[in-house]
């Protein structure tokens, strides 16, 4: 961007500046939030805590406008972009995101408004980014679309995939608002409802490990179709230092997970259960994984593979220099 040529705020350069500004400020907020309590205590002796509520309050307002801008930014032309023209190019994907968001809201029967908006934002980001791949492949008609798709620069495909990964992560984060949590004291045979699932305690069983004594609680998890899995969370007491620990039971259900943990107050005939249903929680991992893979893919772009050798071939007449 050191060209000095004419460029507008609404342009690819403008998008990159916006991107860097928002990400830098978010990083700065994390840095300040981390160091501020230390500095304040060192300078004035006053002790304060800076925890998750602070970081949520600073990071989210910065990320939302950035995520909204991404599908536009990736389509803007260098130097001088046309925001309206760009918006027209992916209005179908945007409308689809709004539609799916509305369907999710309907199926969820309402729910937290911010989370529903977050899911729609994630869909907009995912579909809006991926749609440019389709658009570029289809440019010039259906004929030869596959050939054009294969021929697209890998750096471009990587960009679209990475942006989609960010969108998938946003969907996963928003979905945490729909998680269900249940606390209960159960005796064998009793069960507790966790969202659409029924968690039933089958038996409580003590067992001995190599260097610990444990109490495992065996649970059966059912939904309306029948048994979906069995879990045996346990509490352990390590004999050496009388250290109690908790072994979580984790059940994977596609992209969602169920966690069960039992409390230290559990006895031989009843357990204190803490159960979580985390819908679509794996998206929080899959999104960044996609971003990472896209980053690797972008490194295999043509300009990195064939740039240097080609330049060398262009000088067949180069006179080798005598080595003394």
């Amino acid at each position: 961007m050191e060209s000095g040529a004419l460029f507008h705020p609404i342009s690819r350069e403008g998008g990159l500046v916006l991107n860097n500004l928002f990400l830098s400020v978010a990083a700065l907020a994390v840095l300040i939030g981390t160091l501020y309590p230390l500095l304040l205590e060192a300078l004035t002796g006053a002790k304060i805590s800076v925890g998750p509520p602070f970081f949520n309050l600073t990071a989210v307002p910065l990320m939302v406008p950035l995520f909204l801008a991404i599908p536009f930014g990736q389509r803007l032309a260098w130097k001088r972009g046309d925001l309206y023209g760009v918006a027209q190019r992916f209005w179908v994907a945007s409308a689809l995101a709004l539609f799916i968001g509305a369907v999710v809201a309907y199926l969820a029967g309402g729910g937290p408004v911010l989370a529903l908006l977050g899911i729609t934002l994630g869909l907009f980001l995912t579909l809006g980014s991926l749609d440019e791949i389709r658009e570029r492949a289809m440019r010039g008609g259906r004929e030869g679309a596959l050939r054009r798709l294969v021929g697209l620069p890998r750096s471009f495909i990587a960009m679209a995939l990475a942006h989609a990964g960010a969108g998938i992560m946003v969907i996963g984060i928003s979905a945490t608002a729909f998680e269900k949590e249940q606390l209960a004291t159960l005796q064998p045979g009793q069960s507790v409802r966790l969202g659409q699932y029924l968690v039933q305690l089958r038996k409580i069983e003590p067992y001995a490990g190599p260097n610990y004594n444990a109490t495992a609680a065996h649970f059966i998890i059912r939904d309306h179709t029948g048994v979906v899995g069995e879990l045996a969370p346990a509490k352990r007491v390590y004999i050496g230092r009388q250290m109690p620990t908790s072994e979580v039971g984790r059940l994977n259900l596609g992209l969602s997970e169920i966690y069960l943990a039992i409390g230290e107050t559990s006895t031989g005939d009843r357990v204190d259960l803490r159960a979580y249903w985390k819908p679509y929680v794996l998206l929080i991992w899959l999104g960044p994984l996609l971003m990472t893979l896209a980053g690797l893919l972008s490194l295999t772009d043509r300009r990195y593979r064939v740039g240097a050798p080609q330049r060398a071939k262009r000088q067949p007449n180069a006179v080798p220099e005598p080595a003394e």
Binding site: H8, V25, S49, P52, M243
Partner: protein, 158 residues
Amino acid sequence: MKGLRGFLLVLAVMIAAPVFAVQPAERLADPALEQRARALGHELRCLVCQNQSIDDSDAALARDLRLLVRERIKAGDSDRQVLDFLVTRYGEFILLRPRVSMQTALLWGLPIVALGLGGLAARALFRRREEEAEPEAPLDADEAKALAAILGERDKPS
């Protein structure tokens, strides 16, 4: 040797994920009040832990604080009154979201100031570039013809 043991102890406590914090018996009967207690629990720091909220911690003190919060809520305190009560007892240290004050002005202000300054700098950058740039001269007849020829050649099916 003692240092190593202490370190191992800390490590063991960190690895032994305290997944069980709020106990069933602690809960309030009224779900709406319990909901408020849980929300407040995430805003309050367990004073003896490494930056854990009282809802996430299974330390004895965290349990006492959870019970205290529920006691105040049952007594009819608003969220704000509960927080005020805890701050007078334990100090600002207990709040995971520090209040805006002279002490925390920089903490809350710097990100906003940085965003504002960055925005102004970006705007100045675009302004200057626009002023510096020469207006693009229109193509003369020869150039236009050359361009058309090049474009025509490129668009021919190969």
